[in-house]
């Protein structure tokens, strides 16, 4: 055993930082007399060793960041190998090390990978503060470099024990205390969060807790009692303004103020005597309900001054959100009224710039709110950047898999692109998105309506009666559940009328009118009676003429990651899997595997001693660029055998007769219910599944590959095009991207 285990470990760190850190966490490093130290404490001790190379800290930083990356990539495998408890302990130690040792690279990785890490670690949150999820937030709070999480810290304080576990309170307080703000603003923010917490809970005990916490804050910020009184009063006034904006009764607030005054007396005296000071405290006011209504009216009437007033209103909301930590009003108002601004005839480049700046705040402050993403896509389309809008919406679909509106919007965008470009792949993807939305939420009427329309358009091109039948069923289901839904009833009537079933169409409309007088239904009835055809609603194909030249106007770093084209979405996925890279490469049509590596800046993780394996998609890409990897791919990912055959065929690799036969059988398996009944299950290995959900992705993939003539075309050689722009390329890319999605746990919209 080495006399000085620290020196021995530092030497190992110098040779191979990744291995040294991995070995330490895995218990393979001899710690000598320091065995009682936890992992992070051992690292601290090592860095304190006299004569240690100053570069050791950077090496530890690199090792820890790579270790986290590897854990993220192979989470399930590690957990199974060492047990969940040991796994969680070690994760926690790595996160603690980032704070204890002040590791900037690892801290930046936590921020950059925020979305993915939050999703990864939240599955291990049992509501206690000693877990890695709490450790993650703690590390973010302790190492923050900007204010991107300020609203989250605020929310933690206000809603700990409600939306968040109780440990979130202290993490939120640490986060708010550490904000890069002038001290007075920071103090107001902290007090405001504590006050709103007490207000939310509403009990006398909560008020007493606020008073005590104010006392605690006061220990950090020595100030005369009058200063505290003024601040509390001013914040109460702000709270009152918000209650008025909500059009709530103020009775509860008045009662709360009385209780508060009582509990605060021992700490800061009579708060009512702080009125003079309160007037000197500057806190942005929340715009009133009436102000908002006025702006909405002006936008509706397309008044010339409307855009200016709207932008002013948004900015005041933003300032209030910035000061109070309450982003709700800002985000909601921006998304709702911003939509109308984009439709205003006077929209110009400057207004778009302002909206974009405001949008950035919304995206950062409410990263798990899908509505800013929808607005973002709309804004990009207003700028004529439909490709970016598509990228944004693909990312929204990925981030919010349960959010049907994102899928519907993307489906519409793809259909609009198809109207212009006539690319069948787009229509197929649009249909799949709508099918997934319908399958995901049977009560979401718009997705059913849009799918019904798409199927009708397909029917009118392809003359396939089954599609019409399906469209009718979709609409009838909505009409039955939601009889007053305008679009579903109108859509059903239109479908019936267009297909020679006018009496039924009339009946559908009559039933609706019996429930409610509606001018649209009345007009449709009239058209049917007069024999006037009811056209299908046209897709609103936006003009390619943009409001201004699509020049390289500056975009924020956050937005830059999703520029160029829809392929960026899959790289964003891969990026969240643990690799970082230069996003500017997105603008070039690079060879797929090389592109991935270029995007990452790193080699994908390889099968290692700990059995760490990259996600299948990454390993597959490695094989696509290096044929010698196919054997490893087949060996290490037996569950993905079918995909491997597909990709080999795509790459022009020879398959055996047996493999080809199996692939063919899978591809040609019919999707209709009748075929499913007829074919049955012969139980043979390699036979296609007999029970397939009607909107399954598997069906979609088969249809797409059949449409591209995949098998036949592959007999002539590799199907991958040089610039990856072919139909088959797109199917493969989307399929691999989706494969990465499958490795990622579904997003939990609540924190």
């Amino acid at each position: 055993m080495p006399l000085n285990p620290i020196s021995a470990w530092l030497a190992a760190l110098e040779r191979d930082p990744d291995a040294a850190v991995t070995d330490l966490f895995a218990g393979r490093s001899d710690r000598g007399q320091f065995s009682r130290l936890d992992d992070a404490d051992f690292l601290a001790r090592a860095l304190a060793e006299p004569g240690a190379d100053p570069a050791s800290r950077d090496r530890v930083d690199k090792g820890v960041s790579h270790w986290l990356t590897a854990c993220h990539a192979a989470d399930a495998a590690l957990r199974h190998r060492i047990g969940v408890q040991a796994h969680l302990y070690r994760l926690n130690e790595a996160l603690a090390a980032i704070v204890l040792l002040d590791l900037p690279r690892s801290a930046r990785q936590l921020r950059d990978m925020h979305f993915a890490y939050r999703r990864w670690l939240s599955q291990y949150d049992y509501g206690y503060g000693d877990g890695p999820y709490a450790g993650y937030w703690r590390a973010l709070a302790a190492t923050q470099v900007d204010r991107r999480f300020q609203n989250l810290w605020n929310d933690f304080v206000v809603r700990a024990d409600e939306r968040y576990p109780s440990y979130a309170l202290h993490i939120g307080l640490t986060g708010l205390r550490g904000l890069d703000l002038p001290s007075d603003q920071r103090l107001l923010r902290l007090l405001n969060a504590l006050l709103r917490r007490a207000w939310r809970i509403g009990t006398e005990a909560a008020a007493a807790e606020f008073a005590k916490r104010l006392g605690s804050v006061a220990a950090d910020v020595p100030m005369a009692k009058d200063g505290w009184r003024g601040r509390v009063l001013r914040l109460l006034e702000s709270l009152e303004a918000e209650e008025r904006a909500h059009q709530h009764s103020l009775n509860r607030l008045h009662a709360f103020r009385q209780v508060l005054a009582h509990v605060l007396r021992p700490w800061i005296g009579d708060i009512s005597s702080g009125r003079a000071t309160a007037q000197s405290i500057r806190v942005p006011d929340l715009p009133t309900f009436d102000e908002r209504s006025r702006v909405a009216r002006e936008l509706h009437e397309s008044r010339p001054i409307a855009i200016k007033h709207a932008l002013d209103l948004f900015d005041r909301h933003r300032a209030y959100a910035d000061a109070s930590g309450e982003a709700y009003f800002f985000v909601r108002t921006l998304c709702n009224l911003g939509h109308r601004v984009l439709q205003h005839p006077g929209l110009n480049g400057r207004a778009l710039d302002d909206l974009r700046t405001l949008l950035w705040h919304a995206l950062v402050w409410e990263p798990i709110n899908p509505y800013p993403w929808s607005f973002w896509a709309e804004l990009e389309q207003a700028e004529g950047r439909e490709d970016v809008a598509e990228t944004v919406l693909w990312e929204a679909v990925r981030r919010f898999p349960d959010n049907e509106p994102s899928r519907v919007e993307l489906a519409l965008l793809l259909q609009r692109r198809h109207e212009r470009d006539r690319t069948p792949a787009l229509l197929a993807e649009a249909e799949q998105l709508l099918r997934e939305a319908v399958a995901g939420n049977p009560d979401h009427a718009p997705s059913r309506g849009e799918l019904a329309l798409l199927l009708q358009r397909r029917h009118e091109r392809e003359h396939t009666p089954e599609l019409l039948g399906e469209a009718e069923q979709l609409l009838r289901e909505v009409v039955k559940k939601q009889p007053l839904d305008l679009h579903a009833r109108s859509g059903l009537a239109r479908l019936l009328a267009r297909n020679g079933r006018s009496p039924e169409a009339r009946e559908v409309l009559s039933q609706g009118l019996a429930e409610r007088e509606d001018p649209v239904w009345r007009r449709m009835m009239g058209s049917i009676d007069e024999g006037v055809p009811l056209p299908l609603p046209a897709l609103k194909v936006k003009s390619s003429k943009s409001i201004r030249a699509v020049a390289d106007h500056p975009v924020d770093d956050e937005l830059r990651h999703l520029q160029a084209n829809a392929a960026a979405a899959r790289f964003a996925y891969a990026r969240e899997r643990g690799e970082a890279g230069d996003s500017t490469e997105l603008s070039t049509n690079a060879e797929l595997a090389r592109f991935y590596r270029g995007w990452f800046g790193l080699e994908p993780p390889v099968v290692g001693q700990d059995g760490v394996r990259p996600p299948y998609a990454l390993a597959a890409l490695a094989a696509l660029s290096d044929p010698e990897q196919w054997i490893r791919l087949e060996r290490d990912y037996p569950a993905n055998a079918r995909d491997t055959l597909l990709l080999k065929r795509y790459a022009g690799v020879e398959l055996s007769n047996e493999e080809l036969a199996g692939l063919k059988a899978w591809l040609e398996f019919a999707d209709t219910a009748r075929a499913l009944e007829e074919e049955g299950d012969d139980g043979d290995e390699g036979s296609p599944p007999t029970s397939v959900a009607p909107n399954s992705y598997d069906q979609f993939l088969r249809r797409r590959l059949r449409a591209t003539g995949f098998l036949a075309a592959s007999t002539t050689g590799a199907l991958a095009t040089a610039d990856r722009s072919g139909d088959v390329d797109r199917v493969v890319e989307k399929h691999l991207a989706r494969g990465i999605d499958a490795d990622i746990a579904p997003i939990v919209l609540a924190a």
């Binding site: 055993m1 218990g27 065995s35 009682r36 130290l37 302790a142 605690s216």
Partner: protein, 324 residues
């Protein structure tokens, strides 16, 4: 004889160093493991294909990481039924349990310094006066610090000793208690190379019992070799001993029996924080074998200790001069 037992015995060869002997003695002379706990450990080691000391230490870390340092709400083996033989409740209510706590993490988490805690504590106790910061505010701030720290602590067993053996807490607080207790309690991992802020915590047995009861766990246990990492400064005690015994690190100090106990963690309040200090001075130079043999001699001289253990018979004193 299990393979682990055979391996442990094979570490007690003259040609092996005294650290190997220490590791072997800690396991072989551990008398307080229930059969079930020992079997679980040995099965774990067998499953990890333990074949030599290196793989044994590796497997032990996996075991401790999972079963002692696991995350809440899981209660570590120390306080679970599997450790019934080591558990005890022979702790009188009027005792004061003392523990040295490492404050680096809670300070780093909250971006505080030791001086901040000292200031608040001094104001709260009337030892310092600061404009616009009265004792109530300082106490509230201290409580917030502790509350935040409590939230991030896990359930691992807390190694502790007794005031009546260490000396009055108030007297300790005025002296160089960080180093005194570091040495007396065998905390060699705080070797003074880096400055470690520490807190002297004092808690009552009733508080421990109350905390443990909330999680259906035992309150106290005598330390065993499986309650922490493989540690050359740990020494088991004979089965009849009421408590564990810490290994004094200072060969120059007279040997005294210092009882050691493991207790279920308690959420700290300001009243528990007796003193604040820093460990910054090196551990007294010592020879591990000499320390351990002296300790064993002391144990053997205690009632119930006759014939316990084995003196280190290593011919390899880590290849030369005293190991520290």
């Amino acid at each position: 004889m299990t393979s682990l037992t055979a391996l442990v015995r094979s570490l007690r060869l003259p040609e092996l160093d005294c650290v190997s002997w220490a590791h072997a003695h800690n396991y072989e002379f551990e008398t307080r493991l229930t059969d079930r706990r020992r079997q679980a450990y040995e099965s774990h080691c067998a499953g990890q294909s333990v074949s030599d000391q290196t793989t044994w230490l590796n497997a032990h870390k996996d075991f401790v990481d999972a079963r002692i340092k696991g995350r809440k709400p899981f209660v570590p083996d120390t306080f679970a039924d599997i450790n019934a033989d080591a558990q005890t409740d022979a702790i009188a209510d009027d005792l004061l349990i003392l523990r040295v706590e490492d404050l680096r993490r809670p300070l780093a988490d909250q971006k505080l310094e030791l001086t901040d805690l000292r200031t608040w504590q001094d104001i709260a106790r009337g030892r310092l006066h600061k404009k616009d910061v009265d004792p109530a505010r300082a106490e509230a701030r201290l409580e917030e610090f502790l509350d935040s720290w409590n939230g991030r602590r896990d359930f691992r067993p807390a190694f502790a000793a007794f005031e009546h053996e260490l000396g009055s807490a108030d007297n300790l607080a005025t002296g160089d208690w960080p180093h005194l207790l570091r040495d007396r309690l065998g905390l060699a991992h705080y070797d003074g190379t880096e400055r470690v802020p520490v807190g002297l915590m004092g808690i009552k047995p009733a508080e421990v019992r109350s905390a443990a009861a909330r999680h259906v766990a035992a309150s106290f246990a005598r330390p065993t070799v499986l309650d922490g990492m493989v540690n050359r400064y740990f020494f088991p005690t004979p089965a009849d001993f009421r408590f564990g015994a810490t290994l004094h690190l200072d060969p120059g100090a007279a040997w005294t029996f210092t009882s050691e106990i493991l207790h279920f963690p308690v959420d700290y309040l300001p009243k528990h924080l007796i003193a604040l200090g820093e460990i910054s001075v090196a551990v007294p130079p010592h020879c591990l074998r000499a320390l351990r043999d002296r300790h064993l001699k002391g144990l053997q001289a205690e009632p119930g200790g006759a014939g316990f253990g084995e003196f280190i018979g290593s011919a390899d004193c880590l290849k030369g001069p005293p190991c520290r």
